[in-house]
Symmetry: C2
Subunit: 340 residues, 2 copies
DNA sequence: GGCGTGTGTGGGAGCGCTCCCACGTAGGCT
DNA sequence: AGCCTACGTGGGAGCGCTCCCACACACGCC
């Protein structure tokens, strides 16, 4: 099976059948405007009759491109992913790529060895562009991509001055909305459980908290800010800390649903009712939020839309020669449930 | 940038540098034994000095293969995925592929149009093999794959007589263990909420339920079997039905965590305590299970291991010419929490 | 010594495309 | 009429590999 010469039709055979030259068939396939309607129709008919599908490898070889982009997922992150996030973003990317004949390559990076191997891949131009999710500030990959002039789009950004193109959610706005909501409902001692502050996204959510508190004419009380690490256990610890420092806390904005779940568990242990004694808001609107008791009010990110946008931006960047960096920030939305 | 002749070294340049012919370099790269140690060392040195990375497209074109496999995800399924499942299985596949230079292509199939387009891809031999998750019994893809003699591995199977290679979890055994556990804890009226019975996986879990009930010397009471559809709302409906028919039910095995969550909500509404009045077990051990209140006892599937195994089986199938079908069933495990 | 057999090697041919040059042919201008 | 500019077109060259044939050379055997 699968012998040296498989029966699959080639561009040449299409040309013969259509009674035109190879060049013309190639032009039709690639949508060149420089083809007469007559020739175009003949070629299209021949393609349909023969069931011709262009050979990707040959195209790539001759055209010096790959028609493939890589979706890079740093492994440690996979674990942390609030779960629907992962598949939602993939769905968005897939949707945007569907009409293209761009292929999506999945690349998991676990170890430094794999990272350097991937760097080799990039240097060898095995992909036309790269989609990078969940970048850390110390990740060397974005800089490498920039240096190689490889089109790339990050999901999130490393800092305010991110130079590589990115698509991010409005973390500041989302956090601000959440905290404002708490304050508007009459909560006066609203605390926050932050993510690891060496992550930009965590700092953004903390900024949103601060902005909302200040906008309400209150001062930010450092006793009401507890550091978490985006994990459930971190949420627990932070909540205990908060309760110890400010027993009269009546509202908590956790920078992730998982931390909110941890906080909620501690509140239960301590006999505090949610939302009566303490109102609680998370971030991400994950499956966990919907299944908590009471169901958790949370900030939703337009995850699928982010995936879609990332793909679109990357395709644009690949299409144009010059590398204009694009920065897109998508709005977040407060999903109200029963924890406020 | 990225001009016609990029500076990347070619096999030919490596050959010149090593003072050997193209053929010898090719042999070294592909691990042929028919190379003298001297030549091999020279070539390897040249490769290292030049930072040579083989051109994939050229290889694919000349060798009539692609070094790529497709992971196919039927879109409607993504939504249903108990969430960690998705990323776990990908992680397993990635781990197995890491040492290979096989690429993983992600293919989402949403519409019939996309399905037929993918069929074209397959016919054009754009991948060396296919990994298919979550197949329905009426899915035409497996048969197509078989017909094309394309190496393929399913995650799960369509029926007992599945002809295509597959890797599946021991659904029957897992369900049996869950129900036996309930019976061993003294529950006498143990019900089950099934998945859609046109899905083989749902039938397997129902079989496991039956086997456990019969093994306990009890007869299967049809009144204790309610049909769900793997969704939370389906679990709700089924639980209401069950309560109406058998108000004295004291144990429920739900064929998915999501349905268990639905059932749990109804039980709460009806004032039944879990686990005191009704013990509850789910299937999948998803994030939801861990975050339910009380935390849900559930049957865990070795998801990452399944991904790993799928990849391994596929690679084997690609490596050998003949198509020997492989069937692997991996053990499941009951994870005990607080709902029993 | 002649003949086989085996092992390592070089390099031609070709995979199926895209790129681009060269060649008509038709139309617009002076 | 003569020229210049399009436009549409055919096909050569070449992308970087793998495959495989042919050859050289080192053995062993009769």
């Amino acid at each position: 099976m699968n012998g040296r010469h498989s029966g699959r039709p080639t561009l040449e055979e299409v040309a013969v059948r259509a009674g035109v030259g190879r060049g013309t068939v190639s032009r039709v396939i690639n949508g060149s405007p420089r083809v007469s309607d007559r020739a175009k129709a003949a070629v299209e008919a021949a393609i349909a009759e023969l069931g011709y599908v262009p050979n990707r490898a040959a195209r790539a070889l001759a055209g010096n491109r790959t028609d493939a982009i890589a979706l890079v997922i740093p492994e440690p992150e996979t674990r942390l992913f609030a779960e629907p996030y992962f598949s939602d973003i993939i769905r968005g990317i897939g949707a945007e790529l569907a009409d293209t004949d761009m292929q999506l390559l999945l690349t998991l990076i676990r170890t430094p060895k794999e990272r350097s191997r991937f760097a080799q891949y990039l240097a060898a131009h095995r992909v036309d562009g790269v989609l990078l999710v969940s970048v850390h500030e110390d990740d060397p990959l974005p800089d490498l991509l920039e240096q190689l002039e490889m089109p790339a789009v990050l999901n999130g950004r490393r800092s305010d001055l991110e130079s590589v193109s990115y698509v991010d959610a409005d973390n500041v706005g989302g956090a601000r909305a959440a905290v404002s909501h708490l304050l508007a409902r009459g909560r006066r001692r609203v605390a926050t459980i932050t993510g690891p502050t060496d992550m930009y996204v965590a700092r953004c959510r903390l900024d949103g908290y601060r902005q909302a508190v200040e906008a309400a004419g209150l001062g930010v009380d450092d006793g009401l800010v507890a550091g978490g690490d985006f994990t459930e256990e971190g949420g627990r610890r932070a909540m205990r800390e908060l309760l110890a420092r400010r027993p009269d806390v009546d509202g908590v904005f956790a920078a992730s649903d998982l931390m909110a779940a941890g906080a909620r568990a501690v509140l239960r242990e301590e006999g505090r009712q949610v939302p009566d004694d303490v109102a609680l808001i998370g971030f991400e609107d994950s499956a966990i939020a919907r299944h908590m008791d009471p169901a958790l009010t949370s900030v939703r990110q337009p995850t699928e839309e982010m995936g879609r946008t990332m793909a679109r931006v990357l395709l644009e960047e690949i299409a144009e020669r010059a590398s204009v960096r694009r920065h897109v920030v998508l709005a977040t939305e407060l999903v109200q449930r029963d924890s406020v």
